[in-house]
Symmetry: C2
Subunit: 132 residues, 2 copies
Amino acid sequence: MSKENLRKCEGDRNDCPIKDVLYRVGDKWSMLTVIMLSDHGTLRFNELHNLIETISQRMLTVTLKTLEADGLIARKMYAQIPPKVEYSLTELGQSLVPPLMSLYEWANVSMPAIKASRERHQKQDLVAPDNR
Amino acid sequence: MSKENLRKCEGDRNDCPIKDVLYRVGDKWSMLTVIMLSDHGTLRFNELHNLIETISQRMLTVTLKTLEADGLIARKMYAQIPPKVEYSLTELGQSLVPPLMSLYEWANVSMPAIKASRERHQKQDLVAPDNR
DNA sequence: CTGCATCCTCACTGATACTG
DNA sequence: CAGTATCAGTGAGGATGCAG
């Protein structure tokens, strides 16, 4: 945790690993997909689609392609009719799971406090301005 | 790390802490701001603006307000001319730093492999389609 | 079953100007 | 110094239809 290399973050994505990691895992579905694969092991396209019900087919495709291009997941395609494609985490992908889990656990512990704080602020905002 | 509560993530933000935490820390500037405050301690508005050079004044304001509403940072305002406002992490905000750091360190270790993988895929894409 | 292509929307973001 | 207000552009993401 050397503080020195955190002092400043000026170049846009150049000398800022925080931004790098955000652009990797910060999108809407990547983390979720990695977690699902970590939890279930190998999964087929539709199995993922069912597990992450609110994802659109398009975004699942896009997310899987990006994760594959980044070397976080492996894609195994069976040349048969009907097609069958299996996805699983690579070693690199698995190495992401522990840090993800620590964030996940922080969320479980802290979200109640965050939500409570948010509601307190909403109430304050409601009484501050005149009701017009 | 009980697997049971990860099995499915269907309700949009209802029963899915992964999404919760993503919507908190996944935006473009929150993590960066938290890290800066963790690194420097108390900071004034313009000090933050200088440290995160690429952030616009508007987004810094928005980010700070959101983080404050969520109880992650504290805002201390001095009633004087010229105005002076100091921001610092609350305990809740500080509790976010360790998980953030584990992600940060994962990024430092893994980004080279990710970037290499990405470039490999780009080259493959360039030879796959007919050049037309 | 697994995916790609197209269209379309709207929320996030930045630029700019103004205020206490 | 520390914001607020307004406007406008961009691009992530969803809906739909088609294909191998």
